[in-house]
Symmetry: C2
Subunit: 390 residues, 2 copies
């Protein structure tokens, strides 16, 4: 088994949405295809990957730093030619060789896109859905047949704040979601509380509603919002302060008795370990949201899981950010707490297999080999076109 070519491209994911911190109106997405000499149905197996949302324009890191190292490597360093056995982690070590330690940002996203394509290849070569391959290799064959998913939406609707938001949430309920998330911190506290109460009315109680400040608050605002929201008994209160301000999170946890969630903007197991060391997280209620596609891929996430296990943190209290099929496959195969979902935004990249509905807040997993790109024909077509296959 040998990697014969790696292609990259840039695609649009511009979206009209915004959170308390940023607008998504100018974003693009990095695409990767990994081609191999393994044949299935007479055709070479190709794996696809893409970066998760939040930042963009990282393809040069893939093109100029990562790909040359892979193409210059001996395939014997990552695969056994005769058996087709293939370990993406070995390729990961090759493309991350000669990278300085420290400071994890856009590099982690670039690696995440490439790593996603490598695991898609590995699952296709093994003729297994990715969740099953993950389960077999890393979870003793145990897996979940369905995964709790929640839409990461709840945007601001200037001019029709309450009606626009309620309509969005009613849409999610009609699609089968039970738990939802909404943005806070983009308005003043009084308006945000009205918005929260409006959504609670739609979803049947605060325990079905998470709120997300996207890292906007200083400690004082974080505590003020926490005090005001505590009576609602929310599903969680997410990213109150800067993602690296572990102390803010720890102090907030001593004052806010509800669940806290954070981690989507921590991009390595080193940063995840610091969150566990210093963030004051409570294993009976809080959530950690590292996004594999933003944080060196499944390979990076497996290293984080070692830290998670060392710290005695329950895997059920991990719920990755990102709303992509990689996180979904991992949530099933590693038996995490759930996965975010993006119905209707970041299209065609967000969302899961077209044919599988959300039921009672959960989604089942497909049985086809790979990550699942082929189960979203619009996504597959867009990626193949941008990557120059069609």
């Amino acid at each position: 088994m040998k990697i014969t070519k790696i292609r990259t491209a840039v695609g649009p994911i511009a979206s009209a949405i915004r959170n308390a911190y940023i607008s998504f109106s100018t974003m693009t997405i990095n695409l990767v295809a990994v081609e191999t000499d393994v044949l299935r149905d007479g055709k070479p197996v190709v794996g696809y990957g893409f970066s998760s949302n939040g930042r963009y324009a990282q393809t040069a890191i893939i093109d100029e730093r990562f790909i040359p190292r892979i193409m210059n490597a001996d395939s014997a360093d990552y695969a056994e030619e005769e058996t087709e056995l293939f370990d993406p982690r070995a390729v990961w070590s090759i493309f991350m060789s000669n990278e300085k330690p420290g400071g994890h940002g856009d590099r982690a996203h670039a690696a995440g896109a490439l790593d996603m394509a490598l695991w898609d290849v590995a699952a296709k070569v093994a003729e297994q859905p990715l969740w099953r391959l993950i389960s077999d290799r890393f979870n003793g064959g145990k897996y979940d047949e369905r995964v709790l998913v929640y839409p990461g939406g709840g945007y601001y609707y200037p001019g029709k704040e309450l009606d626009g938001l309620k309509a969005e949430m009613e849409g999610y309920r009609e699609q089968g979601y039970t738990h939802v998330k909404m943005k806070i911190g983009g308005a003043d506290l009084a308006l945000d509380l009205k918005r929260i109460e409006a959504v609670i009315g739609v979803v049947g109680g605060g325990k079905h509603l998470a709120v997300d400040a996207n890292g906007r608050f200083n400690l004082n605002n974080a505590l003020t919002y926490g005090r005001a929201m505590e009576p609602y008994g929310l599903f969680w209160y997410e990213e109150a302060g800067d993602p690296l301000d572990y102390q803010l999170n720890a102090v907030l946890g001593e004052h806010y008795s509800g669940a806290l969630a954070t981690g989507e903007n921590l991009f390595s197991h080193h940063d995840g370990r610091n969150l566990l060391r210093y963030g004051g997280l409570r294993p009976d209620r809080d959530w950690i949201q590292l996004d594999p596609a933003l944080a060196y891929g499944l390979t990076g996430y497996l290293r984080f899981l070692e830290i998670v296990d060392q710290h005695g943190w329950p895997r059920r209290r991990l719920i990755p950010h990102g709303g992509h099929q990689l996180a979904l496959n991992m949530a099933a195969g590693l038996q995490l707490g759930g996965s975010e979902s993006y119905p209707g935004v970041f299209q065609p990249y967000g969302g899961f297999a077209d044919k599988i509905p959300i039921e009672g807040g959960y989604v089942r997993l497909p049985d086809e080999p790979g990550l699942g790109i082929e189960l979203k024909p619009e996504l597959l077509g867009e990626m193949r076109r941008l990557l120059g296959y069609e």
Copy 2:
């Protein structure tokens, strides 16, 4: 005052050197030029910047994320047209708008290169050397007339480990340096100790020699090296473990009585604050080495200085990584502890004004306006050629 155009380019800095962690053989460097409508001697003022070494291929982040935000901004948002007054920090806020918080890596380097060019412009418009502008704006007019500099070298010489290293160090002494630094961790402890003793023989005592493990050690190896090196009374012991493993640093500091140094791979004031909160640093002996060109520029460093002051950390125990003129100007204008130097490597980007020699381990600052690119004609020529001016 208005920014009329921003150019970027990629140049070679490939070097045969390697440290314990990476080789520099395939690296490139990001170049930036900021053009303005301010005239001096009849020509528009242009500022130049480049990224510090370690990672590369970040120009797309500048081109696709940062530059459009600046060019779409109203110049009134960063400058007063009639007076030519100009604050690079306002431009920084514009180009960093719409960037998600958290995870600081390649983005911080891209911002560092652009920010360097902006400060070069600001100093040229003010007709001041940058160290003087920094001193006036941020240090009450106080500055140092000369700065302690040390060469960040001490490489491995396969086959002639001791002779090659001694010759390198003798060269630094002849150039006027008193303090030097060498790599460790790329060989076994016994050979590294022989290398250290060989250099101590050249530089006249351990207090003139810093050693750098480039983040390679786990805690056990860090402690083992520390125990073995403690009797030498070294200038410092740098980056023993992973840059984000603050706990390792804190534990090491409780066992190693000499000076520790770290921070070149922390790329934001958030990470720097975590180092101060959790790294167990000792203000009477340790050193913090954040590199402005890797960490959002002078603008980013000024935010870090606020944290430094809050924590009561002495500015004299800051000594930036990078060996470039930005760090040198800052060391003088902010009265830091010194600056790294790269005589002979990362050329033509490393090193200071050609006409100013190193004397007794110190270098004086030039009086010409700006950062000092024009005082290194080979550097200026290379940058202008790559940026398409010649």
